[in-house]
Subunit: 219 residues, 2 copies
Amino acid sequence: MKHYDSKEIGKLEKIFRLNLINSCTGYKSANLIATKSESGVSNVAVFNSVIHLGSNPAMLGFVLRPTTVPRNTYKNIKEGGFFTVNHIHKDMIEQAHQTAAKYENNVSEFHQTGLLEEYLDGFYPPYVKQSVVKMGCRYLNEYLIIENETIMVVAAIEHLYFQEGIQTPDGWLRLEDAETVAINGLDGYALPVLLDRFHYARPGKAIRSFFNKESSGKL
Amino acid sequence: MKHYDSKEIGKLEKIFRLNLINSCTGYKSANLIATKSESGVSNVAVFNSVIHLGSNPAMLGFVLRPTTVPRNTYKNIKEGGFFTVNHIHKDMIEQAHQTAAKYENNVSEFHQTGLLEEYLDGFYPPYVKQSVVKMGCRYLNEYLIIENETIMVVAAIEHLYFQEGIQTPDGWLRLEDAETVAINGLDGYALPVLLDRFHYARPGKAIRSFFNKESSGKL
């Protein structure tokens, strides 16, 4: 196996290290975060750092570096307190990636990329019309990660919208049916294919699949 | 589209809500975190919350609820300061899921699941031998998310190991070649297929693929 220790990682060329360290932690969620400034300029930016934080109350988080792009996202969230999170569909990966370009503050990435704004139930920031799963979120708090001055934003999920056909009877969203992508590193977009879904694991009991009623015989 | 607001989400049956809210934020990374207690008992547990935090220095984070399973992971990390993060390969999804079962404290999930311990370069906790990408990590800090009493652990990547053939010349790890999976919710395992990889986005310039040298013509 190839091995790098922390000293060797520290000496790598910057872009090589960015590519390596961004990809070594595994696949990431692929979302567009949309906001709107007080003066009415909409903003949308690709994020690979949206994470689940809790179900009751429903909460998510995402990590950003406020001193770099996308600054507008952070500024708008701090000003207005609301943002939307919209899944990236396989047919919109080019537009999603294009939102990472450094546009001027008064330019909406919606207008530049062909992503469409959608306003739902009186929520101030836009949703991405093309997205199959989308959430309206309210800023709750932020945590400064002092080790590298990134910020984790914590938010409540106030609204959740999705195409009805992707939900299974037990509540789960089958993301394969939504054709939601995952991100490999900073710039690789991948479409996952469901291998299996398993019931709750118990000591000494074989894992049971949701799809094959028979035990596989393996622990 | 189906719509739930936060009040409706709050009233959902618990397991239904867990399935829904864990899947609505998109695909998650699929890793096994391994530790070893001071008394020498190894531990390995599936985590879908490992995230990238920074490249220089190389840092990752993960979220846990220390008052529930997997407690041993947190206890061992606090005691010893070190842990490993190991990608879940498509051929080990059953074993990975089985690690979530509530075994007694003195039982190693390695022995119960067929996952193999591997010790590398004098690092105290074991790696998972079958994993194609694995990292040795040092605890740096933790942040209590007061909104729901989860904890984000922040760690330095001290060692990084991977199968050499999966790295592209610019440092990126092609996770499709590693056959690393992604997690949909708490219990769905999916294998991503790479759609495309894009160069750095710039205003007014068409997105360029790493694979098709020609512009697609779309922004």
